[in-house]
């Protein structure tokens, strides 16, 4: 009798345990199946990126279907990760379930390349891929120790966006130098409209911070608590606290520069290519122009932000993945992708063909490319940025003197870097 009970309980638990286990193994089997298809007819390559606006997504899908038509043995599985892209990507790469090809921002690239999860691409490159065609500074941000880990798919620089009507009403010319810019912002500030809508963060001010010869990052460490950097970014704080001609989006209840400009709460902003389609869709009535960023002294500068396609080093279908990657960053794929101007092409030949340098709004953005500083600076940049932004904000709001804020931020950033 007792034994029977014992057996019954054993039976129940084993069934339960088995059902749990099968639940786990089920998914494993399916993923193995995909792997075994590899050698045979159709290969499925996964591609992951963050979503853009609907038009961008359509362009990407079109590029991919062009690719599939040319490579009938390769299927592309597009995965769009809308939120916290890097968190998701890192977790997936740790779990060994990373996509074969994915987007990687230049800002995050050095850190990820350092860990060895990105496949170096040099041995895949064939002559007709024409590496020389890429804008050099953009390509360089994905090169470490002479190896290339990714090919930039597009980029944007920063340019000055100005509201034509407001400038006309105030009788102000489009500023060419930083001093003119500051004066213009003063004149443009009146009844609830500010001259300059500023984004007080390092990603947007890096070029300005370096404009007086300072180095924000030196030998992988924060180095911004210097006279040169302080002097260079002081104007931003003075414009906000002394001239009252600059405002941060949150202070007027909006989220970013494009919105503050579109709602006509600021007459000038410094934004990138992404703001052009946004303004067209959301604020079609705003009459604006773009110009190159006002020069500090006589030196022109701007930022460039770029994203590359990279390959997962743990991918089991590297040949097919390269086919996809090289098509997307190749002349043909890039032309389709950048054809609508949502992104600027990183290949000189494509840029020439599409002629964005002659575009009225995009011309100044393209003109900035040769002298732009690429937003990437070693694997410690994320730590440096976080600390800078936090402390700079309190200086911007006039709660701490700038030199003290910079010193604090640098100290904290470097202690984080040292104990890493």
């Amino acid at each position: 009798m007792k034994r029977k009970k014992w057996l019954a309980s054993l039976g129940i638990t084993s069934i339960l345990a088995a059902s749990i286990l099968t639940g786990c193994s089920g998914s494993e089997e399916t993923s193995k199946d995909e792997g075994s298809k590899d050698g045979s007819k159709k290969v499925e390559v996964s591609l992951a990126g963050w979503g853009g606006n609907p038009t961008e997504e359509k362009l990407l899908k079109q590029t991919l279907s062009d690719f599939e038509a040319k490579h009938p043995n390769i299927d592309v599985k597009l995965e769009i990760i809308t939120e916290q892209y890097m968190d998701v990507m890192k977790t997936r790469l740790i779990g060994g379930k990373g996509p074969d090809v994915f987007y990687l921002d230049a800002f995050e690239a050095p850190g990820l390349i350092e860990t060895g999860v990105i496949e170096p691409l040099d041995e895949y490159v064939k002559k007709d891929f024409d590496v020389e065609d890429f804008e050099k500074p953009l390509l360089e941000s994905f090169q470490v120790d002479g190896k290339t880990y990714g090919f930039p798919k597009d980029y944007s620089t920063l340019a000055l966006f100005y509201n034509k009507k407001m400038l006309q009403d105030a009788g102000v010319e489009v500023p060419k130098t930083w001093d003119e810019f500051r004066e213009a912002a003063k004149k443009l500030t009146k009844d609830k409209v500010y001259g300059y809508g500023v984004a007080p963060e390092l990603a947007r001010m890096f070029w300005l911070a370096q404009s007086k010869g300072g180095d924000v990052v030196k030998d992988g460490k924060a180095n911004f608590a210097t006279k040169e950097v302080e002097e260079a970014i002081k104007p931003i704080i003075d414009m906000h606290n002394v001239d009252k001609s600059a405002v941060e989006p949150k202070e007027v209840g909006v989220t970013w520069g494009g919105e503050i400009f579109g709602q006509q709460k600021a007459a000038m902003v410094i934004e990138g290519n992404w703001a052009i389609p946004y303004l067209k869709d959301t604020f079609p009535d705003v009459d604006y122009g773009t110009a190159e960023i006002p020069a500090v002294g006589d030196k022109k500068s701007t930022m460039a932000y770029t994203v590359a396609y990279v390959m997962n080093a743990a991918s089991e279908k590297k040949e097919a993945a390269w086919e996809l990657l090289s098509y997307l960053t190749g002349k043909e794929g890039m032309e389709t992708w950048t054809s609508k101007g949502y992104a600027l092409p990183t290949r000189k030949s494509v840029a020439e063909k599409l002629g964005y340098d002659k575009d009225e709004l995009r011309g100044p953005l393209v003109a900035g490319a040769p002298y732009a500083t690429v937003w990437a600076e070693g694997s410690n940049l994320p730590i440096i940025v976080n600390n800078f932004n936090n402390q700079f904000m309190s200086a911007f709001l006039g709660k701490t003197p700038l030199d003290k804020a910079l010193k604090e931020a640098q100290k904290q950033a470097n202690s984080e870097i040292e104990s890493k």
């Binding site: 638990t13 916290q84 999860v117 932004n389 936090n390």
Partner: protein, 299 residues
């Protein structure tokens, strides 16, 4: 004799464990396992991405805590948050519950209305509040209308955390209100009747009967509040888009753990040490709370 009984006991114990095994497996795998793993991680320098490595570093991660300014700021912010939010939400819950138990007209309706914030997802709540806190948003418009000064709730380091506090008190108090409501039903009417005969007024009845009778529940509410507030993450994460800004003012311990675990590479061990520290802080706070309110029986 002894051998026989112990054999029987063994068999019965085995049977018991077998019956419990599904639950045990789940607990071990998803709760006890991870806890032990965090302890393990906190003594190691961990690199998970690429070349996986676990280097034993003894107490280095904990030493690092001592001169990490951001960790201190995070602890201080969290502490401030707990000290203000827990008493406020407990008091508010008690008052709400007492009012809604007084037999007012339409009290069921009000109970439902008051409970609604708790049912809303905290992410959605935070987004809605961020709209209201906007410089041009509802709250500032209202303040302006009343002739009061307006604030940049989202961007001003001196105010951002307070804004989150207010939001959280508003949204969690109703949950504890329901617990209080349930407990209020258990207070025998005879006590109130006796008090009435002795000539007690409403306020005296509240202070001398309701509050002491609710002590065990209050203690439960405070402990749950402590645990919940120490673990503040989602609201400050959404408020600051993950940075803990402006000027580290909304940086909480859990947010810092998240940043070290996922944002910077190779600091998983340090993040685990921080999480471990937080667990100890919560444990201590709970023990202190229990010491203060002695002889409780609810948990």
């Amino acid at each position: 004799m002894r051998g026989k009984s112990s054999k029987k006991a063994l068999r019965e114990a085995g049977q018991g464990f077998l019956f419990m095994s599904p639950a045990l497996v789940v607990l071990l795998l998803f709760i006890i396992g991870p806890i032990l793993f965090v302890v393990f991680l906190s003594f190691h320098k961990v690199q998970l991405l690429g070349n996986v490595s676990f280097d034993f570093v003894a107490f280095d991660n904990f030493k690092r805590l001592l001169d990490d300014t951001r960790a201190k700021i995070a602890l201080w912010n969290t502490f401030k948050y707990v000290i203000i939010v827990v008493p406020c939400q407990t008091l508010l819950a008690l008052i709400l519950a007492a009012t809604l138990n007084a037999g007012l007209k339409g009290q069921t309706f009000f109970r439902i209305v008051y409970f609604l914030p708790t049912l809303t997802s905290s992410a959605v709540l935070t987004l809605i509040f961020m709209w209201m806190y906007n410089k041009e948003g509802l709250i500032n418009k209202l303040l302006d209308f009343l002739g009061l000064p307006t604030y940049n709730f989202l961007g001003d380091p001196g105010i951002a955390l307070n804004a989150i506090m207010a939001m959280n008190i508003w949204s969690t108090a109703p949950f504890f209100m329901v617990i209080y409501l349930a407990a209020l039903q258990d207070i025998p009417d005879s006590l109130y009747e006796a008090a009435e005969l002795d000539g007690a007024n409403a306020l005296q009845k509240f202070w001398l009967i309701t509050v002491p009778q609710l002590r065990p529940v209050t203690s439960f509410v405070v402990i749950m509040g402590l645990i919940g507030t120490f673990q503040l993450f989602d609201q400050s994460y959404i408020f600051s888009a993950g940075s803990g800004g402006p000027d580290n003012s909304t940086l909480t311990v859990v947010l810092l753990v998240y940043q070290y675990a996922f944002k910077t590479l190779g600091t998983m061990g340090y993040a685990a040490a921080l999480a471990f520290l937080l667990a100890i802080v919560i444990l201590t706070a709970t023990l202190i709370q229990r010491k203060f309110s002695k002889e409780e029986s609810l948990y």
